[in-house]
Structures are given as C-alpha cells and as structure tokens.
Symmetry: C2
Subunit: 417 residues, 2 copies
Amino acid sequence: MNKSEVFERASKAKDAARLLSNLSTEVKNNALLAMADALEQETDTIIQSNKIDVEIGKKKNLPAALVDRLVLNESRIKGMADGLREVAELPDPVGKVISMWRRPNGLEIGRRRVPLGVVGIIYEARPNVTVDAAGLALKAGNAALLRGSSEAINSNKAIVKIIKSAARGKGIPPGAIELIERTDRKAVEEMMKLRGYIDVLIPRGGPGLIKAVVENSIVPVIETGAGNCHTYIEASADLKMAKAIAFNAKTHRPGVCNAMETLLVDKRIAQEFLPELVKVLQEAGVDIRGCEETCKIVTNIKRANEDDWSTEYLDLTLAVKIVNGIDEAIAHINKYSTKHSEAIVTRDYNMSRRFLEEVDAAAVYVNASTRFTDGNQFGLGAEMGISTQKLHARGPMGLEELTTTKFVIYGNGQIRK
Amino acid sequence: MNKSEVFERASKAKDAARLLSNLSTEVKNNALLAMADALEQETDTIIQSNKIDVEIGKKKNLPAALVDRLVLNESRIKGMADGLREVAELPDPVGKVISMWRRPNGLEIGRRRVPLGVVGIIYEARPNVTVDAAGLALKAGNAALLRGSSEAINSNKAIVKIIKSAARGKGIPPGAIELIERTDRKAVEEMMKLRGYIDVLIPRGGPGLIKAVVENSIVPVIETGAGNCHTYIEASADLKMAKAIAFNAKTHRPGVCNAMETLLVDKRIAQEFLPELVKVLQEAGVDIRGCEETCKIVTNIKRANEDDWSTEYLDLTLAVKIVNGIDEAIAHINKYSTKHSEAIVTRDYNMSRRFLEEVDAAAVYVNASTRFTDGNQFGLGAEMGISTQKLHARGPMGLEELTTTKFVIYGNGQIRK
C-alpha cells in the first residue's frame, strides 16, 4: 500500500474514530453548535469559494439543475448550519444499552450501541452533503471520510476547513472530518479497497456511482437512493383521495427518490378515474406513458414500452398501467420496483393487509403519498440517505443506523463447563 | 446469464422466499418438527450416504480432525434433529412490530420485522450445518441456498432430500431448501454474482474461504468466525480466578473461534502469576510462546515472534505477552484482534469500565471466559454463526439477525405539503 492521500486520510480518520467513540454527548453537541456558528460567520468565505465552482461549472456547461444544486447563498448556508443544530438536539445513540439480561450462571449480558468507526461517504455535486454527513457521523461517534465530486471541490475544501477548525476548538480530534481532495475516479477505487480502515461506504448519487461501488467495494456498502416507486389505486379506493395522493406523489418534487414513477390502476375503476387524473397531471406538465389499455381510455398520451416499467424518471414523466386486481399489481411491483417506497390507495381492509404483507420494499404505504419516505417526515430526525438494501439499514438512515452494537458481559469468574 | 444449476436453484429459492415470508409460525414449526422426525426415521439412509463420504475422505488422507467432523452416527443425527426441535421452540421473529408511532399529520408509522429473502450459506465438511442452517433460515421465513463442500456431498444430498420432503409434506414450498450439488469453486463464484437473487451470503469456514467471499462477492456478505481472542490479567486481578479463566479459555475447546489465543499479563503480577499458570497449561499439553519478558520469568517455553500476535492457532498453543498496564493491553488488542471476544480479569472498577469502553470487539468480558460467546450460552438460542463485522449483525447471529425490517405506514389521505 503506497501512502496516497486517500490512505493517509483514512488512517487519520481511523485514529480519530478510536477517540471519538468515547466522547461525551456534551462535547459532541458543543462541537456541532460551534461548527454551525462558524459556517454562518464564514458565509462570505464559503460563497467566494463556491463562486469558483459555479463559474467552472457554467463554463463546462453543466446542466442547469446540477449548477442549481451546487450554488450556495446565505440562506442555504444558514440551512446547513441549522441542520447541524438539529443534529445536536437529537438523542445520542452511543452507549445506549438496548437490552441486558442475566444468565442462569450469573453472567450479565448486555447489548450496547457503539459507533461504526470510519464512515466513508462518496457523493456528487451537493456541498450541503459535506456538512450533513460530517454532522451525523460526528453525533454518532464516527469519523467522516468525505469524497465529494470535482464540481464542488472548492466549496467542499472551504467548508471542511471551517467546520474542522471549529470542531477542533471544542475538543474533537482532527481526523474526525477528513475530505479527500483528489477527485479522480482512482481515489474512489482506493477507498473501496480500504477494508480495515473504512467500516462502511455510503455512496450517494446517481445509479452509475452506486452500482460501481456496490460491485467493486470490498468495504461493506450501504446502497442508497434508487426509487422506482409505485402507487396502486385499488378498485375500492376513494377516488378523490386517490387523485390527491397520485398527484402529490408525482408532482410535489419529481426529482427525488420517493416520487412516484409508475401508477397502477385497477381496471374496474380505470374508466372513471384515469381521464380526470391525466388531465390534471398534464396541466402540471407531466408526460404520461400508458400501457395498451390505458391508451384506449386516454388517447392523448404516449405508449409505454417495457423500459418504462423499470425507469426512475426523476422528472415530470409517469408510466401508467391498468392491472387486473391486487395480484397483478403486487407482482408488477415486486418485479420492477427498486424496493424503496410503494403505496396502495384502498378502502378494503383485506387489500390493505395483503399489500403491506406482500410488497417487498423499505416503506409500504396505505392511503398516503410515497413522498413521506424521509428521516424528518418519519420523525427520525436528519438522515444520511435512504437505504434500499436489506442488510443493516433499510429505509431512512438516521443516527442509530450509523452505529453497531457490542455485547458487554459482566462476570465474577464464570468458566465454561 | 446461462441457466446453470446455481442460477436455477437460486431462482427457485427466490420464488419460494416470496411464499415463505407469509407463512404462519405454526406451519413453520410443524415443518421443523416433521424434518426432525424424518431425520431420525431415516438415520440408516443418512449413515449409508455418509459412509461413502467418510471412505472417500480416508482414501484422500483428509486430516483426522476433518474426518471426525464429517462422520455421522445415530447420536449425531439425533443431535441435528433435536437442534431443529429447539429452533421450533424459539419465538418467531417475523411480523414483530419493533415500534410504532403516530406523526402530527396522523400517519401511523411502524417498523415490522420481515425475512431477508434468500440466505446463501457456503460451508465446509460439516453435514450438521446443512440441517442447522436450513432450520434457522426456515424459522426466520427465508429460503436457504446451501453450498457445502465436496467432502460431504453425499451426506448433504441425503439429508436435504429427507428434510425437503418432510417440509413439503407440511406445506413448505419446494425451493425453501436448495442444495447446490456442484462442489467446484466456480459454483461459489456464481453465487457471489447473484445479486437480486441471493439477499445475503454467509461463509462459514476457514479464513481462506471467508476472505475470498468478502473480497469477491457483490451479494452482501456477513463475515463470520475468525477469533484471535485475548485475555488480559490486570494487576488487581484475583489471581485464582484469573488462572481458572485463562485455563478454561485456552483448554476447554481450543479448536473453536472463541478460545483464547493470546494471554496478556500485567507486569506487576507477572512474576507471581505466570509460573503457576504456565505449569498447569503445560500439563494440559499447551505449547507456550512468550515475549522477551515472559521468557525471563518462565524459561522452558518458546519465544514468540511478531506472527504469533496475529495467529489464530485453533490448537493447544498460546502466545503470552507481558504488558505495562491497561493502555498497552488495549492497544495490543485493538491492533491484533479480529474483534471477536476479548476479556479482562480485574478487581478494579475503573479498569473494567475502560476495557468495556475501549476494546473494539463483538463481545467484551469482565471476569469470565471468552468461551461463552455463543448463541445458546448468551441465551439467544441456536445461531447461524458469529459475525465479526460491524454491519447488520455483530456477535452470535440468531433468528433476528436473519431478518430485516420494513416501514409500514397507515394513512388516511396524507399528502406532502
């Protein structure tokens, strides 16, 4: 192993993690508050560095949406600082004994929550992730090893310098927040090999990034984000409610992972339900792609092809399929979904039970918009991302998901007979 | 993807998993009891098939210890059957709502335990793992995709045929227990690529197997087993207790992962403690390898080299190191341990607290033998292995660790504002 920047920073993070795991909640909270204050005090410095990124991005003709996510202004920086203050207010998961029991031989055995160690986060051009990830990792007693994308590198450097210095002033070890400044792909590849230094890698970004990390990392990975979410309007649904839920799930914020991508409509109500819904969706600018049956009912839409059922549009586009009852709806969802968020609208008790049981996803809804899949909306506090895998964390990942447990065993001389 | 045996069986397991997740506890328990009865009824058939494996093994000059683990006789088959009956008596983890709460907007959000899906287990020449793994997977609502080693293939085929048929008779879908009969390395490589079909891979075996799976699998892995365990005799220890614990941890069953491999002794008590302990260990056949200081106190032992500190002997061999206080002991453990089971013997309250806090391992003990790290000894019931990783499961993996959760959300028309 040559001593690259990635390795050096991972080593520093690992050293810091050992110290971080034993810090008191008070020390961590004071640091989070100091980091928040420092961000606000240094708003001008951050904006100056950010301007460099934004100018380079515009020269490179980055898509407008990407440039928009990159831009920092006073209100966004205040938002980041407030995020840290919210994390300071959340309960500290570390040290909590989840349960403890006594064995017949007198051994007292408990399960105690402890930090994971070093959390590696690989993300794209959103400088706010730098602050969110560092804050959540710190509160859960972990070191954060951050690797943002080249588009935000100047913003990220400025932000990390500020929050790191504020944290140090409150007794946080320097390796607790480490930004990898190399933005080439090789740096990510190196991170993926650092088993023993990085305890978990969380890729946050497009499907290409996530797939590459999942397939190549020997460090354990938590997969996040892809959301090909469905809403199924069952035959007994309150159609007014169904319309409101479908409209909200598609149009409220189409670019995020918990937005609806495919609408499934029971054929017994399709004729009554679809024309009106399609009308309001089209008025909101939604491009509709329907199955053959859908196109018979509403004619001014495109025809969906096989790819549409598995596409996460992240845009004002919606696939619509008419299904023959709940069996077909569930089979379609379990075949095409990314197991993120799935909803049924129904007034039938048994249908609601079957959907909750049989749909395999991180979040399964009855009579609500899938847009609620979010740490804050669930009441869990800020989140590190939404896990779509089954191991370790599933759904919004809050502070508890950034910890592991250890068994602590109190004896008085027990030996195994 | 060509339709290989591995793919075919994984597909069958995946189909079965969907059905298994909704089976009642009663159906699963009846199947487990029928499987147990069938094993006992078919004892002769199993022993006949097992004899073929044992003869081939002897001809191949397999090590005696390996042949011993391979042999099945009436009492071992009864043991396997009783294991299934114990699993039937354990509480069913599936369907349990861990917590549920109401949000200000009226949404009721709960976290429900659900099966993982398809659990792949890769293991070596121990036919009892076939039964244990299938039973635990079934009780937790999962399909088991088993891949044992070539040395036990005839035994495994006979066992799976019997338990599968008994399970089917009680309404368990046929793909619930699938044995991959190909025993070449390629079969394991194929399993490691079946993301989307296999939900988790659990390698149970030697370090070579575990390393290969951890490094090459794109299916999530739970790492098990390696145990380079330490016991630290702190200066204030009750030396009689320390002697009993150290002796037990080393000699009770040296070939298993929770046995002690290195003893750390505080230098203030080394002169008093070591000669007597070494004497009884040597009488029990233990080969001692000491650090420089240890060799000054006890002269009739080998000198340890750097490799000894990181070796899991799994044998009657013990490395001994004299340390200058708890800081050196903890630093040594955190440097060399595999994070499995670590113990301190002490009468000092603060030393016990520091050890529990600062040692990073799945199980950390005060005043007890590390031999207790085991699902049954902890009171958790039968186990699928002992996880030495931090993600998802840490320590003995029982039925709960073979499940994941999903959020179930009950609404009455909520949309995101």
